[in-house]
């Protein structure tokens, strides 16, 4: 545990440095509107990162989140265009998320297929369905209240999506840290066989997690539609890798069993501030991603060096 605490301390220190740097060099950085904007621009990714934390702690991975986002956003556009009332369209999209997530979970937990392969297939498949619905068109002109929900402040200047993120974080934090479900997530992630012998229905647990991931992705897709005000077939494409990077940078072990939501939150703050700062310094998107990539490798190497020198023991084996 001490190691985890110190890891989060390191993340926090990194965040403070980046934040102070941005605040010192950018005049309007500390303004409330810039701070809100910072979160708003990547709100879908950071919401997805919360549930991905559970999935990776559970020693699985979900590559299909970006495509499910796209599917939900495109389904909303399609349904709205053919005359479905927006609330009904929203309900159908969320149901599609539940169904898609359940499908992932069923193949992974009941058939015992690797999640990397199953969600790679649904990454392609869900994206395909999104394209079937919209082909190469873009759809916009959503109802006024729907767009307002994505673009305007709901309580004071705070938009709906940011409030949803805060609420989801609080709920998931309690679920992971204070509930039996959370303990099971860690136990299954560190050793599935032991969890099975302990009488935990590991298959059901995994299905619940993937269904939750599908539902959240569909929700994120709707947020995107409301925030941007238009949808296209490529909504959310490539998001899965950014989301996974955030979670891993937050100290969640790719082998499962280790990690916290606080780590993920700190990582979110670091990535958002770093990108914002680099953006203000006119550094292009590809290079920004490269810097985040370097940070990701450093996030694995640094704790090992520290661990090895302070304890004098060998770093843990990874293969």
């Amino acid at each position: 545990m001490t190691r985890l605490y110190s890891w989060e301390g390191l993340l926090f220190a990194t965040f403070v440095i980046i934040f102070a740097f941005n605040a010192a060099f950018t005049p309007d950085f500390l303004g409330l509107s810039n701070q809100i904007n910072l979160f708003q621009l990547s709100i879908e990714k950071i919401i997805l990162a919360l549930v991905m934390t559970f999935i990776i702690i559970n020693a699985e991975i979900d590559l299909s989140v970006g495509s499910m986002m796209g599917l939900s956003a495109c389904a909303f556009g399609y349904l709205y265009q053919i005359g479905t009332p927006a609330p009904a369209a929203i309900a159908i999209c969320l149901a599609a998320g539940v169904l898609g997530g359940f499908l992932n979970g069923w193949f992974i937990a009941r058939l015992g297929l690797p999640s990397l392969v199953v969600t790679l297939a649904t990454l392609i498949g869900f994206r395909g369905l999104a394209r079937v619905m919209l082909e190469d068109r873009g759809i916009g002109d959503f109802p006024e209240w729907f767009n307002a929900l994505g673009q305007k402040g709901l309580i004071g200047p705070l938009p709906f999506a940011l409030l949803a993120f805060a609420l989801l974080f609080a709920l998931l934090y309690v679920l992971l840290e204070r509930s039996g479900f959370g303990r099971k997530t860690y136990v299954i992630g560190s050793n599935r066989d032991v969890a099975d012998f302990a009488g935990i229905d590991t298959a059901r647990h995994k299905i619940v997690l993937f269904t939750l991931s599908g539902l959240t992705s569909a929700f994120a897709g709707l947020l995107f539609a409301a925030r941007v005000g238009a949808v296209r077939g490529d909504v959310g494409s490539g998001f899965e890798l950014d989301v996974i990077t955030i979670v891993l940078l937050g100290g969640v072990s790719i082998f499962g069993g280790k990690g916290t939501l606080v780590g993920t939150l700190l990582s979110i703050l670091i990535v958002l501030n770093l990108r914002n700062g680099m953006g203000l310094m006119n550094i292009t998107g590809h290079i920004q991603t490269g810097v985040i990539g370097l940070l990701l490798i450093a996030s694995v190497v640094i704790p090992r060096i520290k661990f090895a020198t302070s304890r004098g023991s060998k770093p843990e084996a990874t293969s």
Partner: protein, 338 residues
Amino acid sequence: MALLTRLSPAALRLLALLAVLALVLIFFSTQIEGYLNGRLFNRISSSVAIMALIATGQTLVILTRNIDLSVGSVVGFSAFATGSLISNHPDLNPLILLLYAAAVGTGFGMLNGVLVAYARIPSIIVTLASMALFRSALVEYSNAKSITSESLPAWLTDFPNMPVFSLGAMEFRAGFTASLVVVLIVHFALTRLRPARQFFAVGSNPEAAEMAGIDAHRTIFAAFALSGLMAGLAGFMFLARFGNITVVAGLGFELKSVASSVVGGVNIFGGSGSVIGAFLGAILVDLLETSLVRWAVVSEFWREAVLGALILLAVTTDTLFSRRLAALRARKSKESAK
């Protein structure tokens, strides 16, 4: 039933893939007029020529229980670097250009290999990061310029389409033939040469491999270096085929190469699979994409949805079938022991 237990699972898998390929061909030939002709073969073979190389490298990495998500970026960098070298020195010897592409790819692959095999960072983390890093290296290197086919010598752009030999209406062009030769060489090495068998040993049981005196670190390093080499060569082919290279060249190839390997029966947990399988997987994926575009019944936008379903189906049947087969064999050997 006797056939099921006599043939090796690997051979059965290849037969099943060939059967599926044949079924797809028969199905679409009843649906699309003038489907089965030389042009179909040419179209599929020129695009498979690139993916086959990448999938071969990916297979070597997956055999050792790892994954290489950086191949798409390596293809892009190699294509761009090779393209800018030849446009600046048009009289360069073709062999030197090919070696340059190979060296660029191998260099990136070795970097991945060091981090995975010796620094012991999980491959999915290393290659997720290096996918972004290599791409940003390309953006820096390109300096917001792109390679155009006018700046390339004619021999390079003509190379992929140069006919080597033909079987009936099927014309084997140089690009495809070269890829096929590489796949066959790697296949021969994996099945017949002792050093190459180490990929299987390390992938199926790393501890046992270590105890048997195999240097698992070196083996994993070699797999990544070779994957980089293949991606570098694929970059050369990409340049020759398309001519116009921008910073997004090769984007998405990483997932497609994993898909080809997995459809081709390579076990994502390492230790089993063949490059011939991955090659057939790449052909199947490409054949479906090309055919669905031409199929009048559904819009061309169905191809990704169908592809996703196909991968899921392929992996499900493969897993369930090999479990049954293992149980069947166990029962048989128990009976014969009595």
